[in-house]
Symmetry: C2
């Protein structure tokens, strides 16, 4: 991702200049125009289904010929259902409240001025993503609604699909009288384009990468602008004492097994000493029945050894397991002294994504809530709830594991900032 | 600011580890303990006045011997009045509401979970500053109240004063039963220490530099963690049409001349074509009387040529003048067509700090408020109001000209972030 040949540099500078100019226009666009563009986009996606699927077929065929994994090809595929979801999501974003221009906290000061805040777009964001072409539509629709411009950089394996989709977005913008350059796709697959995109503070205000940890770490290290980054989701369930055992089993099971691949799935189970004798056999039986591999501390290993069918799934945990995001039917299990030890373990080994306590003790619950230093901290609920839709944001462009600016699920609000506004009638500073 | 010899590296790593450990303790400290530390600090500063002034005298004598400017020596000096202000400011910070633990926006979701946000400390911040030793107390008191730890890096010219002050802060923390490592001063003046401080993401969450533009640009370019940065304050007054001429003169005069050196002083005056014939002679006379140099566009130059006494203060403006922060009795003046041209000029040449419109037209006022892309945008008020105390933050650690995280005056809230909290009673994801 180092600096590239002049032609790529010039190309990206041109995209940047266009994006900046369009962002000024988008920042003052009315809600009705932005919603009109989103509804037009939904209609075009439905009308152009056949043509979109033809473009998509080029990518899918190339991926199959290239011998890529079936799961990878699946993510590329724009089937009828995926296209309809994309159209419907544009309508949903149109139905959300416009965050731009919201004024809050207006208060009169002793000097006579009224001071408050107004929510405004960030400006231009760069979206860097892999395989799934539906991110083109997600990012474009959130950019439009939040009054930003976006430069999209999808993976080369989806270039035909992304070109077709971006073309439709630009048509929808034109139909609504908005600048088509509010949504631009980097037209080349040259990797040097990414190096340029993340190093143009004059034109790009923030970068949002979606993809593997390696990609995100590389971008974060080299970016010259802020990055809303989502690294690991090493999420914990801590089963406290006292506890409702049925609830503990249900929440732990749901957090781990409802789906294995999302970042908000649990990867590590901590159990209070005083609960382990009753709780571990119950959850061990559930995991054994579902074929979940258990990587255990010595004490939990001994306890789970007594669970029928569990034996072939038991392993001794290494220190590395406590920091690992498996995204698979594997969980690490550790017995801890109490809520203090659980909080300390999570703050040391966790990834500051999402962690939950199951308890009936109010003070333990509140201490966990206050002291666990993660983007989302829960009491008696499955970690799987940690996403923008479940939290009521209406849409999600990513989940931030940073503390700065946006933390946790990022929706429209995360694509805006607040400026100060002052209303006076001639006040002077004394 | 490149990487340093092993000894400085080890020293800074040790400071970082201590700060991180102390920050965990501070994050869960009660409001009463934090306030007790602040009040103890105020008492110690008053008791130790003579000893502090002795330490300060070493810095002042060295500065005088080194032939430094009197203004520079003034900023170093811990006179009785400055020390009393420092003590009083600790009491004021103690009286502010504790931002930590505040829960907001708690809403029930269809799934049955209750979702909201809790305000939490950022963790550890690094404060890099020049000359004024009172920043040691400002930064320490805000760190304590906001539940953060801070690593302070003051200028070598104030090292004796800063050491004495930091020692008192640590004593106050001990007296309140809080970890003294919540406030640490880098004990060496080696510049390599700054290079280390800004490149320890494991130990430092954010850097706040206070000083010249060169320092801040260098730190921003090399930092491996977010920087709350304050670059230029190229603030504008735009005198619209229609306008109350008396108000326009009073606001423009106050914004430019009430004090010349603060970043929120006006540096550029824009005047609507339809107002210039009546307004420019009035403000020109005020500036002429106060000896303010006027760097003018051709049209304003012609108009101001008719003002008695103005002639020796008039210059033709160069393009560079529109982007210049003078911090001196100099102002650039330009006649613009209308509010559209004013907004476009400010968004092009301004520094996104603070800009104000003087107008009686409601639509012009609202357009200016919405479309000027600055940290603080004002209607009919002097730009000089743009600071943390005037805005009601109770304290200020800096003014951010960034859009990300904190924008404009940064108080206690800017030293915190919000995590998501979820309250359930066993909810599972379906």
């Amino acid at each position: 991702m180092s600096r590239s040949a002049p032609s790529i540099h010039d190309l990206m500078t041109d995209l940047g200049e266009r994006a900046r100019a369009a962002s000024r226009h988008m920042a003052r666009a009315g809600t009705a125009d932005k919603d009109r563009a989103l509804l037009a986009l939904a209609a075009i996606l439905r009308e152009q289904r056949a043509a979109l699927q033809q473009a998509n077929e080029l990518d899918v065929a190339a991926a199959r010929q290239g011998g890529l994994q079936p799961a990878f090809v699946d993510r590329l595929l724009l089937g009828d259902k995926v296209l309809e979801q994309m159209a419907a999501s544009c309508e949903q974003v149109a139905a959300l409240a416009d965050p731009v221009g919201e004024m809050t906290d207006l208060r009169r000061r002793p000097s006579g001025i009224t001071v408050g805040r107004m929510r405004v777009p960030l400006g231009v964001f760069g979206m860097i993503f892999e395989s799934r072409p539906n991110v083109t539509i997600e990012a474009a629709s959130l950019a439009i609604k939040s009054g930003n411009a976006v430069i999209l950089r999808g993976g080369s394996e989806a270039i035909h699909s992304n070109r077709a989709l971006a073309g439709h977005v630009r048509q929808a913008l034109r139909q609504a009288g908005l600048p088509e350059d509010a949504v631009q796709l980097v037209p080349v697959t040259d990797r040097a384009a990414v190096g340029e995109l993340i190093a143009m503070p004059r034109y790009v205000d923030v970068i949002i990468p979606r993809g593997g940890k390696g990609l995100i770490e590389r971008i974060s290290a080299e970016a010259r602008v802020p990055v809303i980054k989502h690294l690991d989701g090493n999420c914990h369930v801590y089963v406290d004492h006292p506890v409702d055992l049925d609830m503990a089993v249900a929440v732990t099971d749901n957090a781990k097994t409802q789906r294995y691949s999302p970042c908000n799935a649990a990867e590590s189970l901590l159990v209070a000493e005083a609960s382990e004798a009753r709780f571990l056999p119950l959850i061990g039986a559930v995991f054994a029945a579902k074929g979940v591999e258990m990587r255990c501390c010595p004490r939990s290993l001994a306890r789970l050894g007594g669970v029928p069918q569990a034996a072939p799934l038991l392993r001794e945990a290494s220190d590395e397991d406590w920091s690992t995001e498996y995204l698979a039917p594997i969980i690490s299990i550790k017995v801890v002294a109490d809520v203090d030890a659980a909080i300390a373990h999570i703050n040391r080994y966790g990834s500051q994504h999402t962690d939950t306590i199951v308890t009936t003790d109010h003070q333990h619950a509140m201490r966990f809530l206050r002291e666990v230093d993660s983007a989302a901290v829960m009491i008696n609920a499955s970690t799987r709830f940690s996403d923008g839709f479940e939290f009521g944001l209406g849409a999600e462009i990513g989940i931030s594991t940073d503390k700065f600016h946006a933390r946790g699920p990022v929706g429209l609000e995360g694509l805006t900032s607040q400026k100060w506004v002052v209303l006076g009638d001639g006040q002077l500073r004394r």
